[in-house]
């Protein structure tokens, strides 16, 4: 067992972990954050996607030992302090992009990272952005719509912040 310390949704936390314990398991079982899902455990479906230092990563492929000193955001960390929905999950809800919802947290976190890097994405970039996130319910169409809408909202908000 080794000790790790990292930032989890804004809080500094520590844990005793087996070095190659998958981070999905650490989040779900040690921290009770069940929003990150194990869909395959092999980095193929993206349901376990979290943000590590702002980058989207498959938590199932991330050994807990590598979390030390890093900043982690899970779906539970996206809610605004007043409890309102972050613009990305808001866009997913409003666009009808949520059916069974199992893939949704992973899709959302991937989108948060994607839109930070590409605030004005083309349709092709949007389609490719979630190539590592599988969905069996929606056929991706409304998810792509949600990403487009979220980009516009975030751009609008960014514009509004400028003096």
């Amino acid at each position: 067992m080794i000790e790790i310390r990292f930032t989890l949704n804004g809080d500094t936390v520590s844990a005793s972990v087996l070095p190659a314990q998958p981070v999905t398991q650490l989040l779900r079982e040690t921290f009770g954050l069940t929003g990150s899902k194990t869909g395959c455990g092999e980095g193929e479906c993206g349901a376990c996607t979290i943000l590590v230092d702002g980058q989207a990563m498959n938590s199932c492929l991330l050994p807990a030992a590598l979390l030390d000193d890093r900043e982690v955001v899970t779906i539970e960390g996206l809610d605004a302090p007043d409890g309102s929905l972050h613009p990305v999950p808001r866009a997913f809800v409003d666009a009808g992009a949520v059916q069974c919802g199992f893939c949704t947290p992973g899709m959302i976190l991937r989108t948060v990272a994607f839109l930070r890097e590409h605030p004005r994405p083309t349709d092709e970039q949007i389609a490719r952005s979630i190539e590592g996130n599988l969905c069996r319910c929606t056929g991706y169409v409304k998810i792509q719509d949600a990403i487009r809408a979220a980009a516009a909202t975030l751009e609008g908000a960014a514009g509004a912040r400028e003096p």
Binding site: L18, P19, P22, M57, L61, E131, G132, N133
Partner: protein, 282 residues
């Protein structure tokens, strides 16, 4: 079930090499995208109880230009390669292929070193390195050695890397701006494809003749393969229909693909031939 009882994350290369020297069966961890799959499948050999992570070693990640060489640290991720200005400028084929590896999530973790050491004939990043005549620097507590990427692989999943060695960097002579690189991969997806067949082509067009031709095959042989016979057909030639046809046929014969769940041998040979023609289409 995690088999590792010992974990090290040294901050210097020397410290890492000492650990490797003393633990011949240590498992090296870079991004985790290969190691964690093995852990999950329970196929990590029982004697590998030590996990050695490279993520803290100074200088292992990142790119720099040293005179005419592009030097890429082995812990540089595929995502880094896709956006690093130096790579995009000096070796755009590497950036292009890196950006089509698996998914964004995997690209943020997978490293060029990991891709090389995993030594899969399907390793996407390896193909452009063959085209770039890359050299791999292997370090151990006894010193360093440089191996041409073409000579690194000995079989599926096997390389000349010794148990006490660490792959530390990849060195590429920056190609001249007029050198042409092309890459083709099979399948219906831009990325997320465990390759059926990939083909890379590089050449310098000199007065309409192809010079310094490099052909690299992926998923077409037990190792990533440089197609020297195909290169010989093209070297110094103009890409006329007859030459292209001959190159395609030679390539289809030069590879030795297996039949597996992703594709049959026959189909893979046909794809190789088709891709050669496609990449030569000026």
């Amino acid at each position: 079930m995690s088999p590792f009882t010992q974990f090290h994350a040294p901050r210097t290369l020397d410290a890492a090499l000492e650990i490797l020297r003393d633990n011949a069966s240590a498992c090296v961890l870079a991004g985790g995208t290969d190691v964690m799959v093995r852990v999950r499948r329970g196929v990590v050999p029982a004697e590998r109880t030590t996990l050695l992570s490279v993520h803290r070693i100074a200088g292992m990640r990142g790119c720099r230009r040293e005179n005419g060489e592009l030097v890429v640290g082995a812990a540089t991720t595929a995502a880094d390669l896709g956006r690093e200005p130096l790579v995009v400028e000096c070796a755009p084929i590497l950036a292009h292929v890196a950006d089509r590896l698996a998914s964004a999530q995997v690209r943020n973790a997978a490293t060029i070193g990991g891709n090389l050491v995993n030594a899969s004939p399907a390793g996407d990043l390896i193909n452009p390195l063959l085209l770039l005549d890359a050299r791999l620097v292997l370090a151990s507590s006894q010193g360093r050695r440089t191996v041409a990427v073409e000579e690194f692989f000995t079989g599926p999943g096997e390389s000349v890397l010794r148990p006490d060695e660490l792959l530390v960097e990849v060195r590429i002579d920056v190609p001249s701006p007029d050198r042409i690189f092309r890459f083709q991969k099979a399948g219906t997806r831009p990325a997320m494809e465990c390759s059926v067949v990939t083909l890379g082509l590089a050449f310098t067009p000199t007065r309409q003749v192809l010079e310094r031709v490099r052909v690299a095959f992926g998923s077409s042989a037990p190792t990533p393969l440089r197609g020297r016979k195909t290169e010989a057909v093209l070297e110094g030639q103009r890409a006329t229909p007859e030459v292209v046809e001959r190159a395609a046929r030679t390539a289809a014969e030069e590879v030795s693909p297996i039949s597996d769940i992703r594709g049959s041998e026959c189909y893979r040979r046909a794809l190789v031939g088709a891709f050669v023609k496609r990449l030569l289409h000026d």
